[in-house]
């Protein structure tokens, strides 16, 4: 593998509760790329995101994470974020008393009201209507998701991991998300887009497919999308999953 990658993951393994969730993940993302990671629910995509971000209880048992040539495998979340890596969480946290304008400004190296407003507009939210609102339960799930994306966009990170930014959002809003990703890329942010919606694939430069904790296919987005549609979707439908309280049901 060349050294020209912003993010390189080598043979990454992670166990939780005695179960191996990541089974030797290898990945390389070049600067400026929008890298799509597809996979059905439970394939390990979000676990990979938390592991890359350095979350507690997501310490790899084996393997390395290299960011801009530096081994960040043992760095804290804060240290990784300060190197320019961040995560838009799939289910964003709620903060009692924290206003949207303050939340967005937290991660900005050069805080400015203009950038905050620009970030809200980039996720199709009116600054006038949202700046003074609180990032709490009063916002809908979709609104919190957009605000989370705006916060990441406002940061101008080197690498943004977007964990299912499209979940819980209607099809019409997918266009907004796609435009935001393109905007991030245009500003120089490399994007790792995690999704199980293959409609998002056209916005990516490279796509990979994750299955049961492994990257099973990497390549041109359309080819990976077709493979996903042909093989993974039927698998998702056919594969029974254990349900709480015992027994099985079809997804």
């Amino acid at each position: 593998m060349s050294n020209d990658y912003l993010l390189r993951i080598e043979d990454l393994h992670l166990e939780r509760d005695g179960q191996e969730i990541l089974r030797g993940v290898n990945m390389a993302i070049a600067p400026g790329q929008v890298y799509g990671l597809l996979g059905r629910n439970g394939s390990g995509k979000s676990t990979l995101a938390y592991t890359l971000m350095g979350c507690a209880e997501y310490t790899p048992s084996r393997g390395r994470i290299l960011f801009a040539g530096r081994d960040i495998t043992t760095l804290s979340i804060t240290e990784r974020a300060r190197l320019g890596l961040t995560l838009a969480w799939q289910n964003p946290a709620r903060f009692e008393g924290l206003k949207v304008k303050d939340y967005l400004i937290l991660g900005m190296k050069e805080p400015s009201r203009e950038r905050v407003e620009e970030a809200l507009a980039a996720v199709a939210l009116s600054p006038l209507a949202y700046l003074e609102r609180t990032v709490n339960d009063a916002l809908s799930g979709g609104e919190r998701k957009r605000i989370e994306l705006a916060a990441v966009y406002a940061m101008r990170p080197r690498l943004a991991i977007l964990d299912e930014p499209d979940s819980g959002i209607d099809v019409l809003s997918l266009d907004d998300i796609s435009q935001l990703i393109q905007r991030m890329a245009a500003e120089g942010t490399t994007v790792l887009l995690i999704t199980h919606r293959d409609e998002m694939v056209p916005v990516t430069d490279v796509a990979a497919l994750m299955c049961e904790g492994e990257i099973v296919r990497v390549g041109k987005p359309q080819a990976v999308r077709e493979h996903y549609a042909r093989h993974c979707r039927p698998c998702e439908v056919a594969k029974p999953v254990e349900v709480p309280g015992g027994g099985y049901e079809r997804l």
């Binding site: 979340i77 804060t78 924290l98 937290l106 940061m155």
Partner: protein, 312 residues
């Protein structure tokens, strides 16, 4: 510096705007120790202070139907390092009146100061009283504050109070408010405090919903770190048909601090409905990791979360 200027400076430090205390258009009261340094009345509002040993007894009367356009400002303080201050206020909010009070209690140099307040508050029929009280106790922890209030809310009246002690040390706080609410009346009590060092916080909020359709909320937001302690008892009683009440307590604990919560809900009428929620623990991990993923270190992230909780 005159005593008046000294207390105004302390008032400003605790978050107040001294211009309100200088204005002849704003109802105000300034008390330093047991001395009344200023009392300004406006039409519809009478303020009658009386100096007593170690403190001041004061009657605040808002005439029926009065609408206060600008909140009344109250300043209570002790400037020396030691002393006792006893404030005995009696608020009478006449029927249909609407009044807001903003109080600041400041003890910036306290090493050994006791501040005792025993308030009696009557909110008349269809009247509204909003009372916010912000404290600043300096950085030594040498303050004991005992705010107690007995509040009566008549039919259709509305009483809300917010007590905040979130900057500087707490020292020892023993907060105890009791509110009786008549039919269609509303009471909202909020207490916020941030203790550290060996601060000791005790908050008791009691709301008795005695009339039909009365409503009440007893809310507390407390954070403690180091070796500070916190005990919260939020109690709401539904004593009449269709009374609705809720107790809402969140306490955040760090380091070796300890916290306890006793939410009490009591219903004496099968058509009343009272609920409670209490959460004690460290800051939410998801919130913490989210802020850290924006580049904040852990300590700063915790502070942002706690400040949000206390100021929200």
């Amino acid at each position: 510096m005159s005593d008046f200027e000294a207390i105004l400076k302390a008032y400003e430090r605790s978050g107040g705007d001294p211009n309100f205390l200088r204005s002849s258009k704003v109802a105000s009261l300034v008390i330093s120790g047991n001395r009344v340094l200023g009392a300004n009345q406006v039409p519809g509002v009478r303020i009658e202070p009386e100096e007593i040993e170690h403190g001041v007894r004061v009657k605040v009367i808002v005439e029926p139907g009065t609408r206060l356009d600008v909140p009344a400002h109250l300043c209570f303080g002790v400037i020396p390092a030691e002393g006792v201050q006893k404030i005995l206020p009696e608020f009478e909010i006449g029927a249909g009146a609407q009044a807001e009070f903003i109080a600041h209690c400041t003890f910036p140099n306290a090493v050994n100061v006791r501040h005792l307040m025993e308030a009696h508050i009557h909110v008349g029929k269809n009247a509204t009283m909003k009372y916010s009280e912000t404290h600043y106790h300096g950085e030594t922890g040498g303050v004991e504050v005992v705010p107690k209030a007995q509040v009566t809310v008549d039919e259709g009246g509305h009483y809300s109070s917010e007590f905040a002690l979130t900057t500087g040390r707490v020292g020892k706080l023993d907060f105890d408010y009791v509110v009786d609410v008549a039919a269609r009346g509303v009471a909202e009590l909020t207490a916020k405090a941030y203790g550290y060092g060996n601060d000791a916080i005790s908050v008791k909020e009691t709301i008795r919903l005695n009339g039909e359709h009365a409503r009440g909320l007893a809310k507390s937001r407390i954070a403690v770190r180091d070796e500070a302690t916190s005990e919260v008892m939020g109690s709401t009683e539904g004593n009449a048909p269709f009374a609705r009440g809720h107790v809402d307590c969140i306490e955040v604990v760090r380091d070796r601090a300890t916290a306890s919560a006793i939410p009490v809900v009591r219903v004496r009428d099968d058509r009343a409905y009272v609920t409670h929620e209490a959460a004690i623990g460290t800051v939410n991990k998801k919130e913490l990791e989210t802020l850290m993923s924006r580049g904040l270190d852990e300590e700063t992230a915790v502070d942002v979360i706690i400040r949000g909780m206390l100021e929200g």
